[in-house]
Symmetry: C2
Subunit: 102 residues, 2 copies
């Protein structure tokens, strides 16, 4: 997050309510994604997030890709599923960066 373009990507990623909402859901997966049968420690699978956003599968996928490019989430692919979880280190790094730069 020392780089300026990185910070730009992160702020732009956060500048959409749906993407912030997704990050908020991922903060407490047990609460919001209890239907998922596999362990939530590995992340929440994309389809569960689709269902919650109310947007189309492709749109939600694009939002997730934006979050990932910004480093705000990390993914793990298992079989045909892709599990998303917050990248807490990068989120903290962003908060530090914005706190000192702003």
């Amino acid at each position: 997050m020392t780089d300026k373009t990185e910070l730009d990507a992160v702020i732009k990623a956060l500048a959409h309510p749906v993407r912030r909402q997704i990050l908020a859901w991922l903060k407490d997966p047990e609460r919001w994604f209890s239907e998922q049968h596999t362990s939530l420690d590995g992340g929440v699978c994309a389809g569960m997030i689709d269902k919650k956003t109310g947007l189309s599968q492709s749109t939600t996928s694009a939002h997730l890709a934006t979050l990932q490019r910004a480093g705000l989430v990390e993914t793990q692919k298992i079989g045909q599923w892709i599990y998303y979880k917050r990248n807490e280190a990068n989120i903290r790094a962003f908060l530090d960066a914005i706190s000192t730069s702003l």
Copy 2:
């Protein structure tokens, strides 16, 4: 900043490099706007900011308006000049809000 729409406006306002740059300049007016003859305590007048952005007067004015609507800067009008300065309380409130919500 307790309101959700407020936070949205602030993040959107920050999601543009020029607006962040303006906020950064306003952090140290003595350094960046030493040419201004009136006291910098009252803020930096809009025209000086125009000159620095490299954008047109109207565009810079729009950016300043966005920052103001978001509450990130406050203004003081003296004669035909409008002086801009950071609203430190609101900036801090934003940092608190994003730190806890993110």
